[in-house]
């Protein structure tokens, strides 16, 4: 039996068993047959993952091409399935840990509310803050590049500040900028400024000595060298910072809302619903935040692949 047939059988069987077990558990049957089928489903899917891992990337057939994504998805589906079974089966109180199905239902039913929160936190605070903070960090790095004294003075301070719990500034920013999205955007700006500064400065040093000597031999000015050589060479590290900042932006916007916000926003929703013990709504918000974070990150990864197509780490994936 060829690998592809084996894999197809295993995956099909695993998913079918998983669905069966889920239905049975929802129907109340978690003794005996339900448990056996659930365990069988888990083992089958795990086996499929193991075998699939042994297949080299880009080997012939559908399973070679989508190997990385496929294994990741299978693992994820297995986790969600186990979560569902264990929660419903063991009767875990929804107050403690709701099952995925409940969370999905809550997202659907509270859609308008959560959509409004999403706009407040992500569209109004996180993304603008990310853009402004990253831009400010980038421009300051260029300034530091121009003036070595400033770089030697600011970089150690920047490294120190990156390690500090910046989140503590949230109440102060609320005091300065008010309750609304401005203070949250300010929090994001503060959190994203230093990673961008530190990474851009590091990135500007990436161009090799020989490449820089080449530009010197052309009598090129600082700005010509920057545009033709040092900025393109800095792009991998700049994108590194942009990706880190996308995570920090979302965290900053949400946690800043723990300190006060006008009755709307993902962070606000989480903190108030936690107080009411309505954990399914909380998990729904977290699910939305998780998907947003992943989507934001994913967009940046795609942009990175296009801009830094030449970098060895990106090239290796396509070879």
């Amino acid at each position: 039996m060829s690998k592809s047939t084996l894999l197809t059988c295993l995956l099909g069987a695993g998913i079918a068993l998983a669905l069966l077990a889920t239905v049975m558990v929802h129907g109340g049957d978690f003794a005996g047959a339900g448990v056996v089928i659930a365990i069988a489903a888990w083992l089958v899917l795990w086996l499929a993952c193991s075998i699939w891992s042994g297949v080299p990337q880009n080997a012939g057939g559908w399973f070679g091409r989508i190997r990385d994504v496929g294994i990741m998805l299978t693992f994820g589906i297995t986790l969600i399935f186990l979560w569902e079974i264990l929660c419903i089966g063991f009767g875990v109180p929804a107050v403690l840990l709701p099952a995925p199905s409940l969370i999905g239902a809550r997202v659907a039913s509270s859609y308008p509310l959560i959509a409004g929160d999403f706009v407040q936190t992500v569209i109004r605070a996180a993304i603008p803050g990310w853009a402004i903070g990253s831009l400010a960090g980038f421009l300051t790095a260029l300034l530091c590049d121009r003036c070595d004294f400033l770089r030697r003075g600011l970089l150690p301070i920047g490294n120190l500040v990156s390690a500090l719990p910046m989140i503590g500034l949230a109440p102060i920013l609320v005091m300065w900028f008010g309750f609304d999205w401005q203070s949250k955007a300010a929090m994001v700006v503060v959190m994203t400024f230093f990673p961008m500064l530190v990474n851009t400065i590091a990135g500007l040093g990436e161009a090799g000595a020989i490449e820089r000597d080449l530009m010197r031999s052309y009598g090129a000015s600082w700005s010509e060298t920057l545009l033709a050589l040092r900025l393109p060479a800095a792009m991998p590290m700049i994108f590194n910072a942009l990706k880190i900042n996308s995570t920090l932006a979302l965290i900053g916007a949400i946690v800043a809302e723990f300190f006060g916000t006008p009755l709307v926003g993902l962070g606000f929703r989480i903190s108030t619903e936690v107080g009411r013990m309505a954990l399914d709504t909380v998990w729904a918000c977290i699910a939305v935040a998780a998907v947003t974070g992943s989507a934001f990150y994913g967009v940046l990864v795609l942009a990175e692949r296009r801009v830094t197509f030449w970098h060895p780490s990106i090239r290796q994936r396509t070879q």
Partner: protein, 315 residues
């Protein structure tokens, strides 16, 4: 050469040495930032009632630097407050149950947060390293689990903090443990990812050498992969401890904890005690700096013992 020329050459030489490294520029930049801060006090605090009747720039500045509830406190006010709540307040006090730490002392709160941070850090680092070892050795884990660990970094984990506190609270676990769990949860990601990178860092030739010795996986691990990963280990530990501190602080927020730096931030925010917020913040920053410095010192000691080329050494 005249003595004047000699003297001026000496002073310019000293100045060059001071300004050549980092110490000079950092001092200058910090000084400039301090001046900007002091200057900003007046415009930032200008709306406050205490300043309304004061005229004359000098008087207004003096008043702005000594307000009770400023929007932007002056640095000396923060330092005064920290002094007042740490050194000037007794650390211990007598109660009916014996001698306990004085809750009025800021150091007590720092201690509460610090213990949660360290416990969480210890758990997180151990978990992270164990996970990294598993991922490096089991191929299927690398492809199934690792992408999810990377993807999970894009999820705002701190948003889960309230849930953990409340969920554990509802089954009776409060105090240090929930905060440590948040810290552990936050700190194991950078360690896992860093250590996987570190364990995979030996190049092909070094691995081939081990193969020519028919070395077992364990031996290759202890003699090659683990030493090769030390650089990434310390880099990850630094990130990990700072984020662990953030986790401990955020863990104190959702349920309005009574003790810890986060609680001081909260209560300062509720009661409008801005200077208290700044003091707590400065103390948190100092804590973070000290912890990272300790790891840095450990890193340098390890590097010396491992014969790593010190920075600035000419070949």
């Amino acid at each position: 050469m005249t003595t004047n020329a000699n003297a001026s050459r000496r002073t310019s030489h000293i100045r060059t040495r001071l300004m050549a490294g980092s110490l000079g520029p950092v001092t200058v930049v910090s000084f400039v930032l301090l001046i900007i801060w002091y200057s900003a006090c007046l415009p930032m605090n200008s709306g406050l009632p205490n300043l309304e009747n004061v005229t004359g720039l000098a008087d207004r500045y003096l008043a702005a630097w000594n307000l009770e509830r400023p929007v932007l406190p002056a640095p000396h006010q923060i330092i005064e407050d920290i002094y007042r709540t740490t050194i000037a307040t007794p650390l211990l006090r007598e109660t009916a149950d014996g001698t306990v730490l004085n809750a009025r002392n800021l150091l007590y709160h720092a201690w509460i947060t610090l213990t949660a941070t360290l416990v969480g850090f210890a758990i997180g680092v151990s978990l992270g390293i164990a996970l990294a070892i598993a991922i490096v050795n089991i191929a299927s884990l690398r492809l199934s689990l690792m992408p999810w660990i990377v993807a999970s970094q894009t999820i705002p984990i701190l948003a889960i903090a309230p849930i953990i506190i409340v969920a554990l609270g509802s089954i009776g676990i409060t105090g240090l443990l929930p905060k440590s769990i948040i810290s552990a949860y936050l700190s194991f990601f950078p360690v896992t990812i860093g250590m996987v990178k570190g364990f995979n860092s030996p190049d092909l030739l070094q691995l081939n050498l081990m193969q020519t010795y028919s070395a077992s996986r364990t031996v290759t691990f202890t003699k090659l992969r683990w030493p090769a990963a030390t650089q990434m280990l310390f880099a990850s530990l630094k990130v990990s401890i700072s984020i662990s501190l953030v986790g401990a602080i955020v863990g104190e927020l959702p349920t309005g904890a009574q003790a810890g730096i986060g609680s001081r931030l909260l209560s300062g925010s509720y009661y409008g005690q801005t200077v208290q917020i700044w003091s707590a913040l400065v103390l948190a920053a100092a804590l973070a700096a000290i912890l990272v410095a300790i790891i840095g010192a450990a890193e340098r000691a390890t590097q010396r013992a491992m014969g790593v080329k010190p920075e600035g050494y000419a070949p």
